[in-house]
């Protein structure tokens, strides 16, 4: 099983790396938002209730990382849907391998990509004057939460692809991913959000994931924020892998 999962993950990763049009949006879109948010709203750090931060860029870094990881999840879903459309999925389904390896392989392939995404945004942030208050331990924690969250978002994409079986439909969820992110505390402190965003943000796992990654960047490491972030990311991964496997079984029954 492990060998097959690794082989499928390797294949998925190789395919992703061969297509720059796949990788470019992971960095370009969140970087543009990061630049505009930081340039346009840097004075908001003066608002009463805003946490003590060195700059708005430091605060926004985890939002850009979360956004990039979400786009990565959509891309993983599109890649899975393309394999269904192209017939590769059917060939896998008829081969003598554990079927769940199809889901695990795809999800595992996003882990190195997620590590790359997190590292890229930390480097971009540092290059433009951000600070990581948690030091190297903080960097390691951001990478850890980011990689688990990235895998969780990929599992959402895979579940959708197995249900929709159509790449353009999966692409259509892109704006919805943005809505869910907006309804979290990824971009702004929870206490300063307006209703209903503030109510929803309290229950949105993305809030905890973004805050978990933000904590080691803007302050000395707080075990509570980091553990909540990690738990939210791991919970999302577990639930979505379960849903993906259920969708896979449903798809195989229909085939």
């Amino acid at each position: 099983m492990t060998r097959i999962v690794l082989a499928l993950a390797q294949r998925a990763l190789r395919n992703a790396l061969r297509r720059p049009q796949y990788l470019a949006p992971l960095i370009i879109f969140p970087s543009l938002f990061l630049a505009v948010n930081t340039g346009g709203l840097e004075r908001t750090t003066e608002l009463p209730g805003f946490p003590d931060v060195r700059g708005f860029l430091d605060f926004q870094l985890s939002a850009a990382i979360t956004q990039s990881l979400l786009i990565g999840g959509v891309q993983a879903g599109i890649a899975q849907a393309l394999e269904i459309e192209g017939g590769f999925f059917d060939r896998l389904a008829t081969s003598p391998i554990p079927r769940t390896a199809i889901v695990f392989g795809r999800v595992l392939a996003t882990v190195p990509l997620a590590l790359f995404q997190v590292a890229a945004f930390l480097v971009i942030g540092l290059a433009f004057g951000a600070h990581i208050e948690g030091g190297w331990a903080g960097v390691a924690l951001v990478l850890l939460i980011g990689s688990v969250a990235g895998a969780g978002f990929a599992a959402i994409g895979v579940a959708l692809a197995l249900r929709a079986r159509n790449a353009s439909l999966v692409q259509g969820i892109f704006p919805i991913a943005f809505v869910v992110l907006f309804l979290s505390s990824a971009f702004f402190p929870r206490d300063l959000l307006s209703a209903p965003a503030s109510w929803i943000a309290a229950y949105n796992p993305l809030s905890y994931i973004a805050e978990g990654m933000r904590n080691p960047i803007i302050a000395s490491i707080s075990s509570e924020a980091v553990l909540e972030g990690l738990a939210a990311a791991a919970g999302l991964l577990g639930v979505m892998v379960g849903i993906s496997i259920a969708a896979l079984r449903g798809r195989l029954r229909e085939a």
């Binding site: 370009i28 709203l41 003066e46 943005f178 907006f182 300063l192 307006s194």
Partner: protein, 253 residues
């Protein structure tokens, strides 16, 4: 002349038919700007408490949503043209006894018309969540500027579609308008922007258009802001129109 007008109208009708026949294709472009408006105002609404902001954040951000809608519509026009090129339909258009300029005007005018759809949807939702009513004249100015910007972005997207001749160039078409709209006074008045963004916004003609649309939603209409907005829009249309027309003429093969 009459013949040209008929061709332009026919191309507009074809473009509207696409909305009726494939409504699912139009949904993301209609929904996205409204999502953007609701999301941004919910998240960054507290920014309006900063000194230098006038009005509430929702009303301030409406022009950004309207121009995002225009930008998505303009880009979609380019993507549709690329699809027509891939499928050979555009070659048949080139063989028709119609000037390239008329073809371009038809394609671009359809974008201008279609941009009203996301705009109307966004305003309907916006007014229902508390965006200030700007007044009829102000709304008329905003409508012309939004349609005009959709036409300008459609010229950009058409030029790219004619250059790359594939739908895979879609991200390039989308990102141009997206960036042009955001690197302005989209989120905050100029004095509140960071220095680098203020410089960029000052050079960006879309800033004038955003401020022209924003009149009425925030503050009063002034002649100075209005003529600058229209001048910037016409400048963009002429420059990008010439680039698109060059591509259209080269499409003769």
């Amino acid at each position: 002349m009459r013949q040209s007008v008929r061709v332009v109208v026919a191309l507009q009708r074809r473009s509207l038919n696409e909305i009726l026949r494939v409504p699912g294709g139009a949904v993301p472009g209609v929904l996205a700007p409204t999502i953007f408006l609701i999301g941004l105002s919910g998240v960054f609404g507290a920014a309006a408490q900063l000194e230098g902001f006038s009005g509430d954040f929702k009303s301030f951000i409406v022009p950004v949503g309207l121009l995002q809608g225009a930008s998505f519509t303009g880009a979609a026009t380019g993507v549709n043209l690329a699809r027509d090129i891939e499928q050979g339909w555009f070659d048949r258009m080139l063989l028709a006894p119609v000037s390239r300029t008329t073809l371009l005007i038809g394609v671009v005018a359809s974008a201008a018309l279609r941009s009203l759809l996301p705009g109307i949807f966004l305003l309907a939702v916006g007014f229902s969540i508390g965006v200030d009513w700007p007044g009829v004249l102000e709304l008329a100015i905003a409508t012309v500027l939004v349609s005009g910007m959709a036409a300008a972005v459609a010229c950009w997207a058409t030029a790219l579609a004619l250059k790359f001749r594939t739908q895979q160039a879609a991200p390039l078409m989308q990102i141009g308008g997206f960036v042009a709209v955001l690197f302005t006074t989209a989120y905050a008045p100029a004095p509140l922007l960071s220095d680098w963004l203020r410089t960029l916004a000052d050079l960006n003609p879309v800033t004038r258009v955003i401020e022209g649309i924003r009149q009425g939603f925030v503050g009063d209409v002034t002649w100075a802001t209005t003529w600058r907005a229209f001048a910037a829009m016409i400048f963009l249309q002429v420059v990008l129109g010439l680039v698109a027309l060059r591509g259209m003429r080269r499409a003769d093969g």
